[in-house]
């Protein structure tokens, strides 16, 4: 039996303790604005790392992440909405619904579960496609979810959206879920299941001929990704305290895809780095915009930077590699290299 007190685990535990201390210090010293930005980083890590399961590791390019966020966001918002706001906004719903408020953690999990449940039939249909066709089909899912949100008047209040939620998302929930997501994704990817995912991505015919259940692997990855998408949506809804259908826009889907591509799809730590960069960069640019009085310029700069990035480093900052702190203290890498040879 292998001891759990390995060097790797000690480093991991040390890292977690360090994170908790850093978050504690941040929580005590930073003002609400910086805490908001930090919360957003946590939320985007959840979203990017989970999107990595499909887009990065299984090679199924999905543009439907915002759809699962919307499902999680609306579900959790309906569950946690305070009674006063409920009476004002959801008067058409049955009486039993007017009389309970679910705690936020439960609502978050529930939002994730509902997103995962919906991902099952959706996945059964859209995962028959691959490549561009899959991307378009998942984009279709986003359109369907948005139009349901815009038209299911008694429940979602249509374009008016749900407001008056309590600001439940704090640093601990955002980063707690970020750690859980990273942990789950990491364990999935570094397991026999993850090897199969990567095999499906790199050559699905070869994988199938070696006995990998290609469709099942892709479906499970899609559902897991949807679960954390739903959780991320719930966290975002409870940071904004108000959600409308336009919140879950194409822009949001593309923002997460961009985070993934910048960090390096196919790298868990890459998606974390991508999420951090693409949350902070717009904030810094907005600050420069303010100083030099040039509104709108930040969007142009980000777009130009993306084009340059795609030309000069299209595999993302990390490519398929990982940052693994425990390896910094060892001679050889603890994690095996990807199945395919790294491109560069």
């Amino acid at each position: 039996m292998k001891s759990i007190i390995t060097r790797k685990n000690v480093v991991l535990l040390g890292g977690l303790v360090l994170l908790v201390i850093l978050l504690g210090v941040a929580d005590a010293t930073l003002n609400n604005y910086y805490l908001r930005i930090l919360q957003l980083i946590g939320i985007y890590i959840v979203l990017t790392a989970s999107l990595n399961l499909t887009n990065g590791f299984t090679g199924d390019f999905s543009l439907g992440h915002a759809a699962f966020m919307a499902i999680g966001g609306y579900t959790s918002a309906l569950l946690t909405m305070p009674l006063a706001a409920r009476a004002l906004q959801l008067a058409e719903l049955p009486v039993w619904f007017q009389e309970f408020v679910s705690p936020f953690p439960l609502a978050t999990v529930f939002g994730g579960i509902l997103a995962a449940i919906i991902a099952l039939p959706v996945g059964l249909v859209v995962l028959r496609l691959r490549g561009h066709y899959l991307a378009v089909a998942t984009l279709g899912l986003l359109i369907i979810v948005k139009s349901i949100a815009s038209n299911w008047e008694p429940v979602t209040r249509g374009a008016r959206g749900l407001s008056g939620l309590n600001a439940e998302t704090n640093l601990w929930w955002a980063f707690g879920w970020a750690v859980i997501t990273i942990f789950v994704v990491w364990r999935m990817v570094h397991s026999p299941f993850g090897r199969s995912m990567i095999a499906v991505r790199d050559d699905s015919v070869a994988a199938a001929s070696r006995g990998v259940h290609v469709f099942r692997i892709r479906l499970v990855a899609f559902i897991m990704s949807a679960f954390f998408g739903g959780v991320g949506g719930a966290l975002l809804a409870h940071q904004l305290t108000a959600i409308t259908p336009p919140t879950f826009s194409f822009d949001l889907t593309f923002l997460i895809v961009i985070m993934l591509v910048i960090g390096g799809s196919g790298s868990v730590t890459g998606s974390v780095i991508g999420a951090i960069i693409m949350t902070i960069l717009p904030v810094i640019l907005r600050d420069l915009e303010r100083r030099f009085d040039l509104p709108g310029v930040s969007q142009i700069i980000i777009a130009a930077a993306l084009i340059a990035f795609m030309i000069f480093r299209r595999q993302g900052l990390m490519g398929h590699r990982e940052l693994h702190p425990s390896t910094w203290f060892m001679k050889k890498p603890a994690t095996p290299a990807s199945v395919d040879a790294p491109q560069q």
Binding site: R36, L40, I243, I280, L317
Partner: protein, 386 residues
């Protein structure tokens, strides 16, 4: 390759630090920081940019006249980009980093409902410029104020005008189901119209984005007796198309509506068919009132173009409303004192009408201007006092 990985880590770490050190700088004691929350890029830009210009103009005039209690006003602004996430970040930034003692802005009730709670939680008064949802202050809390009237007031004004000036006894109501604004306007119009003895012969609905209204118009034409006025509760996007299709069907009754019709789109889209349309709005910029004319003149001098719409006037009034409260506040650096002063605003002369907050309400009772469109030309017809 290893160095690229460290570079990636380094870049994100540096950005994390840079992000935390960005901004900063609280207010000096000889200046008062007021935050402006507007989106000058994105979908809100056409109404938010004039409002922000009006807001800045008011601050400039106050500073030129010697400021408030000897202190200059500094308008802190960061573009909210018509995006809820950015908007909430901006509100938080203005409060926490710029040290704003009061905030003003947003011309959209949905955005106001996202921005308001942050100010409420931080205990900073927030004056919504053009968000007309009547329940807004109650939904957000005691730090939320409105510079504009609520939809209840404008709906009552249209109902009264229809009844008294247009001799209407019966009305048809067409409502856009997609917005708080349109549904609320419809509810309040019907309540008032029925209360003063009118009758709603048929209520019909559509969803923002529809382009064909022939079904609704056919149902209207099938009525045994035609209503005296046609009430349309629409946002600017559909105002022109609906007018066009109603007139094309040969219906000639007056069309009445709220400030959703205060858009050049009615004349542009409906063209010759833009006849006999009456709508309520915040102010007529053609009014001969000296306050309005001075504002139009100052705005034109400052920006080289006249105020684009009534929202410019609302932005101007928002800043003046905050300034008036700062002057009267027991301590102009204490947000709670500013909130109390705002709540006790009485008879403040503003471009969009005299502003007073009735006891216990944070929604002003104000005059409503009724405008009329005839053959693509909009003219001012009447001011209805509350």
């Amino acid at each position: 390759m290893r160095n690229i990985r460290f570079m990636a880590l380094g870049v994100s770490a540096v950005m994390l630090l840079a992000g935390c050190s960005a901004g900063g700088g609280g207010g000096d004691s000889d200046e008062i920081v007021v935050g402006a929350v507007y989106s000058i890029t994105g979908s809100q830009a056409s109404i938010d940019e004039p409002a922000y210009n009006g807001f800045k103009l008011a601050a400039k005039e106050i500073n030129e006249a010697g400021g408030i209690n000897g202190k200059q006003i500094r308008v802190a602004f960061s573009d909210a980009a018509s995006d809820t996430t950015t908007l909430t970040n901006v509100v938080s930034e203005l409060i926490e980093n710029d040290g704003a003692v009061a905030l003003g802005g947003t011309n959209d009730s949905t955005f106001a409902l996202a921005a308001g709670p942050i100010a409420q939680a931080a205990g900073i008064p927030f004056v919504a410029s053009g968000a007309t949802l009547p329940t807004l202050p109650d939904q957000v809390g005691d730090y939320m104020f409105m510079a504009c009237y609520g939809d209840d007031l404008q709906a009552q004004a249209i109902a009264n005008y229809s009844m008294e000036e247009l001799d209407a006894k019966t009305a048809w109501a067409l409502v856009d189901q997609a917005y708080d604004f349109t549904t609320a306007l419809n509810t309040f119009f019907q309540e008032r119209f029925i209360a003063v003895g009118g009758e709603i012969v048929l209520e019909d609905s559509y969803k923002s984005g529809d382009t064909d209204y022939s079904a609704q118009i056919a149902r209207l034409q099938a009525l045994p007796t035609q209503p005296d006025v046609l009430f349309v509760s629409a946002i600017p996007n559909e105002a022109g198309i609906i007018t066009q299709q109603i007139r094309e069907a040969g219906l000639t009754q007056p069309i009445v509506s709220g400030d959703g019709y205060d858009t050049p789109l009615v004349a542009e889209v409906a063209g010759d068919n833009s006849k006999d349309v009456y709508f309520s709005t915040h102010v007529s910029l053609e009014s001969e009132d000296a306050v309005v004319q001075n504002f139009v003149k100052a705005y034109t001098e400052e920006y080289g173009t006249g105020p684009e719409n009534a929202f410019a006037a609302l932005g101007y009034d928002t800043m003046n409303l905050i300034a008036d409260a700062l002057k009267r506040a027991a301590d102009d650096s204490d947000p709670a004192a500013v909130k109390d002063a705002l709540a006790s605003t009485q008879d403040l002369v503003a471009v969009t009408g005299t502003i007073s907050y009735p006891e216990g309400s944070r929604k002003p009772s104000k005059a409503v201007s009724i405008m009329r469109i005839v053959d693509e030309v909009t003219t001012f017809v009447k001011v209805i006092e509350p």
